[in-house]
Symmetry: C2
DNA sequence: GGCGCTCTTGCAATCGATTGCATAGAATAG
DNA sequence: CTATTCTATGCAATCGATTGCAAGAGCGCC
């Protein structure tokens, strides 16, 4: 029993028709080519025999694998699972399956993973890894692979992408802090080679000007990567250069966590002595100490839209490239508060 | 340029040999069948032409897809990403690729996902979802699919599995609390239909007896699922039935978070008024408020071992079933402390 | 010099589906 | 009643690799 797979041939024999007829009867697109009575009979026999078409065999002939590849830096980064769920949901509707590959922010691994996906004949790829000018994209173009970016943009509009309005998000954070009374607001920026890093930074700069913060060049320190350690380093540099800062807008939640660490190291209590905001609203951000005020991005929706965009592009390779920009939302929690009045409270020392 | 794929035929033509020779020259197993000089020439031409064998086409003939399926409840549950990374790493070494499916703890979806994986002709599956007696396993057996369980067991030994020594882990937590001076220790248990829920519970019961806790039936409340809400409910029930409890051993970190919530609701400060331990040491457990004392399981190692076990079973379907049990480790953080002396401090009210 | 042996290589079938083309029979037109 | 167009189905090639079998080349031995 284990040995015998049921093939289209078996169904054909059993239904008394030719295999090609079975194929047509079972394929929604070709269904019209075969008479209703035969189609019904075939469907019934297929059902009875428990026939499942082999997508591998079909793919060989049709050149489509009903599979798409996803490149992300690291699935353990909590930003991604919700996006993946969104992608998966939209893909499943269309009968597609996703293959996920982690790159660990390593260009070589990314290259490698892409080649492996291409070898598996994926019908398209979703990239959450690329920097603003990335050779990966050229490679995809050369391979003739439809591509959609999530949470990234090349700026050029040559590639479809789904992203967050990073400028607006950063502005949300700045305005919130300004409203609380902060004047000296600093920014721990993400890597500027990534569109999110650049976008949030420029959003910060513009918003700071708009709310009329202190004059002079904006207090900004760029983190080397989107990690806690990098955030702590950048925060240290920022605070060293601008000791009077009362609030920090971090370019993502992990960087904010790094800011927490650095603040604590300096004996600064958050939010009493310094307010800190994040970006992304990653899972469990509400459980941090203190709960993180952050800019929530529509992770799942990004995934869904990205998958839809990609499917459309697979369907019609010359469909226009589109950029979908989703609006973020501020989530106020415990890491932001009014700046402490200069003399209302004595600075608190860490133990 | 985009149109033409390079096939084995192209390489054969270019190298002046037959396609079958190319196949043999490039396949490590058959490599010995062709002369060294020809093999070298073929390898060189393949290299030069940029030939990548089509695993789909090969799979059609060989009946192996070099693909395995993974069923997990939810990728957004931070327990799983490290396991997946482990699986992926071990798989990649062997040239295999993973396809991940989420089931949301829904038996129907699980069933469905399994069928889809089977249709894609995966060579085996890794299940992180099954309960102690699960129809999914019978289905795999019927399909002739090699299976390995991660972090789950059927108890029967009929299926290979990689798991944590849950009894030992629970004992670690209980002993830690006993050493701190706790006598009245309760347990928020996981669902008993899951092997982890049952194992941790029995570990708790045995350890409690061993450390000579209070007599009488052990204070235990079972959570309906491994979620924060369920944990809060169970904690409420536990504290209502046993008000004198000074410490709770939760069967996983999410349940522990639920305990945090319920404790706060009752005006109990953790760890001052009540100590709480988790299980798993999920990412960011050190960032919770308070940082969670928990039992760390070797997530990545579980993934690696599971993948190895599965590959071995694919290689040799009649290889003996094995259960690998990994030892957990206690991570002490801020959610546990000595029980407060009956009158040393006044209870603290939440605001 | 003929026989048998090993070592390489080619031939052709195969895996399971899809699809352009051909054809038989039915339906319709004239 | 014949000619023509449809419709429904079958035939066979195809996708890209793998592999059992056959055959040719080279070689040693008696």
């Amino acid at each position: 029993m284990r040995k015998k797979r049921i093939t289209i041939e078996d169904v054909a024999l059993e239904a008394g028709v030719h295999a090609s007829t079975v194929s047509r009867a079972l394929n929604p697109g070709k269904r019209a080519l075969v008479s209703d009575v035969v189609a019904a009979r075939v469907a019934a026999t297929a059902q009875r025999l428990g026939y499942t078409p082999d997508p591998v065999a079909a793919g060989l002939r049709t050149r489509r694998s009903a599979t798409i590849g996803i490149l992300i830096p690291d699935i353990a980064n909590p930003l991604f699972p919700p996006i993946l769920r969104g992608i998966e949901a939209a893909l499943a509707e269309a009968g597609y399956t996703a293959i996920i590959a982690n790159t660990d922010n390593d260009a070589l691994r990314a290259r490698d993973a892409l080649e492996r996906l291409a070898a598996r004949r994926v019908d398209g790829v979703i990239l959450a890894t690329v920097s603003r000018r990335d050779p990966l994209l050229d490679r995809c173009r050369k391979l003739g692979l439809p591509v959609v970016l999530v949470n990234r943009s090349t700026g050029g509009g040559a590639t479809s992408a789904v992203l967050t309005d990073d400028e607006a998000g950063a502005a949300l954070a700045v305005r919130h802090l300004a409203l609380l009374g902060h004047r000296a607001i600093g920014h721990v920026a993400g890597p500027q080679r990534l569109s999110t890093g650049a976008g949030r930074r420029s959003g910060f700069v513009a918003a700071r000007r708009a709310v009329g913060g202190e004059s002079g060049p904006p207090p900004i320190a760029e983190a080397a990567s989107y990690g806690i350690e990098a955030g702590a380093h950048a925060a240290a540099a920022l605070l060293a250069a601008h000791p009077r800062i009362t609030a920090i807008v971090a370019a993502n939640d992990l960087l904010a966590l790094g800011c927490y660490d650095e603040a604590r190291r300096r004996g600064l209590a958050c939010p009493r002595d310094i307010s800190i905001t994040g970006f992304n609203d990653m899972p469990f951000a509400d459980r941090f100490d203190p709960p993180l005020t952050t800019v929530r991005i529509a992770q799942r929706a990004m995934g869904v839209e990205a998958a839809r965009l990609l499917l459309a592009e697979i369907e019609n390779p010359r469909s226009p490239k589109r950029e979908i920009k989703l609006q973020p939302e501020l989530v106020v929690r415990g890491s932001t508060a009014q700046p402490r009045g200069p003399s209302l409270t004595v600075p608190r020392r860490s133990r």
